[in-house]
Amino acid sequence: MQTTFSLAQMADPHIEQANDILRKCVHCGFCTATCPTFVLLGNELDSPRGRIYLIKGLLEQDAAPSDEHVTHIDRCLTCLSCTTTCPSGVDYMHLIDDARAKIERDYTRPLTDRLFRTMLTMVLPYPGRFRLALLGAWLAKPFAKVLPGPLGAMLGLAPKRLHRPSAVDNPQVFKAEGAMKKRVALMTGCAQKVLNPAINEATVRLLTRHGCEVVVADGQGCCGALVHHMGKEDQSHAQAAANIAAWEAAEATHGQIDAIVINASGCGTTVKDYGWMFRRDPAMADRAAAISAKTKDVTEVMSDLGLTAVANGDDKPTVVYHSACSMQHGQKLTSPPKTLLAQAGFEVREPIEGHLCCGSAGTYNIMQPEISARLKERKAKNLRATEAQVMATGNIGCMMQLQDAVGMPVVHTVELLDWATGGPKPAGLD
């Protein structure tokens, strides 16, 4: 793609980077066919190529973003399906990150929108506040249907019951069963441990059973993805820096950490990108890159270790595996979860249109409830068509999005792996 940035503009490293990304695009349009919003809406501007043109115009003209820019960029799910399709290797993820940051800087959203976004960023990443908010949401849930747009959508998503905090999530060290093969740090996350603490519990059991010493580092928090996708770069970098410091401190205390293990693929995509986020910060660049280099999805670590002691049982349900976008497009991990589930003795099925997003996409199901609902319905229909007995996935967002829509229990992949290797049967499968 031809670009026309001035020399003065090119002096800005952000523009220089965007220029490199834009010039790789050969506008072939293969991305449009695999973009969920284009598939639904059929508007070029709601396709990756259309957004790339919008972003190019936005950056070249260096003007304040228009309502049109914001509408179509906001509609992007950041599912990154386009980056899987693109033969030219256009780094769409970092391009749209920049566009979002520019919108956050140079565009004034309506007041209610601003307040709502601020509220989300102040609540969701903080488990204590989130728990309180869920309590309030639970009380307000009957009104979900009558409240407009995002507010109603948010209440609709609130879980039916609240879990107690799990002791697993407190800073501590879990010893490996038998000889220690690896020492890993588990990212316990933010919203996930409030919404479904069983996932971290199953992860710790699974990892320790397979010879991992699991460190839960003090001072870790949200990975920063939530605010990052709203263009709030200062906050996302602060959260990322806190995590890096927490894991470094854990390493200093407990000895070498072989991997940062993440069991929510959305967070995994972000932590694997810390190196990029801090690449221009001399004090942080190397540290962030080191953390990113050893960040692994839990299924990557388990593939390295190999499943042992798979318990035989003929009552194992048929599993449909839903690959989260952050897993298959963000981290490009497609086979490890399925292979592990098959090794654990499950019959694994896959839905058609597996590349399309379920519409969860972080806070997308709150901010864009209509598109999200249509994607959810489409995904749920494809999942139901497999006639599996349980759905497994590796991302809490998809679990929350789909649990009431698929007509079967929804569990995390590690819960099934834990069960198959001697752990308890996941709740909901009884």
Partner: protein, 479 residues
């Protein structure tokens, strides 16, 4: 080549228009909005910009408004409303043309038919299908998958059947199955005044009157808007075999092609890629072909028939010093190979990030092919340009893709000069300036060089069917 016509450019809605055309004003927008619904009418900059641009190096010339139609009736009503006001109409399928076909040189209304994407009727027994104009070629073949039939015409882009008809497109299969010229049976067309006609029935042949079907195939939207197309289908062959064969030099590869065609071997595909193009394809599509002129083959038929074709072609290739055939029989391997070939244009552009491609497509009688390609290659090498060659050589058709920096005037000029020499060379060899891309507004001067006095007859046809010159004005011929 210098394009002498200056484009009036897009007019803002409501302003007066010096070219004698009516303007797209609020009143017309209201009428259009009533026809297609407000959601299917856009005057936004980004949508207009996108609809004024195709895949070529030609700059975007946006229309004043874009309407998204979903039926022939809607297209008819839109065209009639525009005709009543002498407002230009530019049909748009997928925007993958290569000569600025969709640029709204005189402003006006762009009629986007991409949402007319329904398969209307599959007649498996007759081996034909009728589709709305916006159906894309890959979607059609996906739809036909279960019938055992396929539609063979395959330009590089995933173009719409309507657009392919309008540009008389072809592709890698043309050597065996022909181009859109041979494969369109009938069309539904909205004429310049809004009337709807059907150009033929479904019979495989007909002597009934003037062949309007062939008149609209390749008319590039200058005579009417194609809204439905009936095309021939073919049985998926029992055996399909693909092969890659590297050659010691360009000449031996081209001579192998010529002898294969002259021997009457019914190859389905025979494609040439030169070193530069192979380098691009290796990088873009992850192939690992040796960097030497190479032919991609495909053979269709029964097991025995394919075997016989293969033996004959191998014998010919050996004569010219090539015997390293690599075979692909598995569908996934074949698909990878041909996808790579189809993506050749994008692969070439990706060689130089930020650059644009000038795709050319001269076509000569097969006996002159070697001469034409070799002289062209020499000319390119002397110019120092980045210009890979890839071609449907079985038809005598080849592409030089000039990958140029649009900001470098000198480079552009050099490319235009090499291109002009190549086109004139092809015409001198009794060939054509365009085998499959069409004229648009990029090749109008070449059309004159090629057809001479026949241009006057073409102009008479154009004015008879479109007296106000509102259908895609400024394309194909000057009125």
């Amino acid at each position: 080549m210098a394009i002498n016509e200056t484009s009036p450019g897009a007019q803002a809605p409501g302003t007066s228009n010096a070219s004698g055309y009516g303007t797209v004003d609020g009143e017309l927008l209201d009428v259009l909005s009533q026809i297609v619904g407000a959601d299917n009418l856009s005057t936004g900059d980004a949508v207009r910009e996108q609809h004024g641009r195709d895949e070529s190096y030609h700059p975007s010339v946006p229309p004043d408004a874009v309407v998204f139609c979903t039926s022939t009736d809607q297209v008819s009503a839109v065209v009639r409303a525009c005709a009543d006001r002498a407002v230009p109409v530019v049909p748009f399928g997928t925007g993958t043309s290569l000569e600025g076909h969709v640029a709204a040189l005189a402003g006006g209304v762009c009629v986007d038919v991409s949402r007319m994407d329904k398969i209307i009727q599959v007649n498996a027994e007759d081996m034909d299908v009728t589709v709305q104009a916006g159906v894309r070629r890959k979607a059609l073949n996906e739809y036909l998958r279960d019938t055992g039939l396929f539609f063979p015409i395959d330009p590089g882009a995933d173009a719409s059947i309507g657009g392919m008809t309008a540009t008389r497109a072809s592709g890698t299969n043309a050597v065996r199955y022909g181009t859109m010229r041979e494969n369109v049976l009938s069309l539904t067309v909205v004429m310049a005044d809004g009337r709807v006609i059907r150009t033929a029935r479904r019979a495989r042949k007909s002597s009934a009157g003037y062949d309007l079907t062939r008149l609209f195939v390749g008319s590039e939207g200058t005579l009417g808007v194609i809204t439905e197309v009936t095309v021939k289908l073919y049985g998926i062959p029992e055996a399909i075999l693909s092969a890659v064969c590297p050659f010691p030099d360009l000449e031996s590869a081209v001579n192998t092609t010529i002898l294969t065609i002259q021997s009457g071997i019914p190859v389905a595909r025979i494609e040439l890629l030169d070193e530069a193009q192979l380098d691009a394809v290796n990088k873009y599509s992850g192939l690992d072909c040796a960097l030497t002129p190479t032919l991609f083959f495909e053979f269709h038929g029964s097991d025995a028939g394919v075997h016989e074709q293969v033996e004959n072609v191998k014998a010919i290739a050996q004569e010219f010093g090539a015997d390293d055939f690599q075979w692909a029989t598995k569908p996934e391997d074949r698909n990878k190979l041909w996808q790579a070939r189809h993506d050749a244009y994008y692969a070439a552009i990706a060689l130089r990030p930020g650059c644009r491609g000038i795709a050319t497509d001269v076509c000569v009688p097969i006996s002159r092919l070697a001469e034409c390609i070799l002289e062209t290659r020499k000319d390119i090498d002397a110019s120092g340009l980045c210009a890979p060659i890839v071609g449907h050589v079985g038809d005598g058709n080849f592409h030089v893709i000039f990958v140029v920096d649009p900001d470098d005037a000198e480079e552009l000029k050099k490319a235009e000069e090499v291109n002009e020499r190549m086109v004139l060379r092809a015409i001198a060899m009794e060939g054509t300036c365009t085998g499959e891309h069409g004229i648009g507004y990029g090749k109008m001067d070449f059309l004159t060089a090629e057809h001479g006095d026949a241009i006057a007859a073409m102009r008479a046809v154009k004015l008879a069917l479109d007296p106000q010159n509102t259908m895609n004005p400024g394309k194909v011929i000057r009125v």
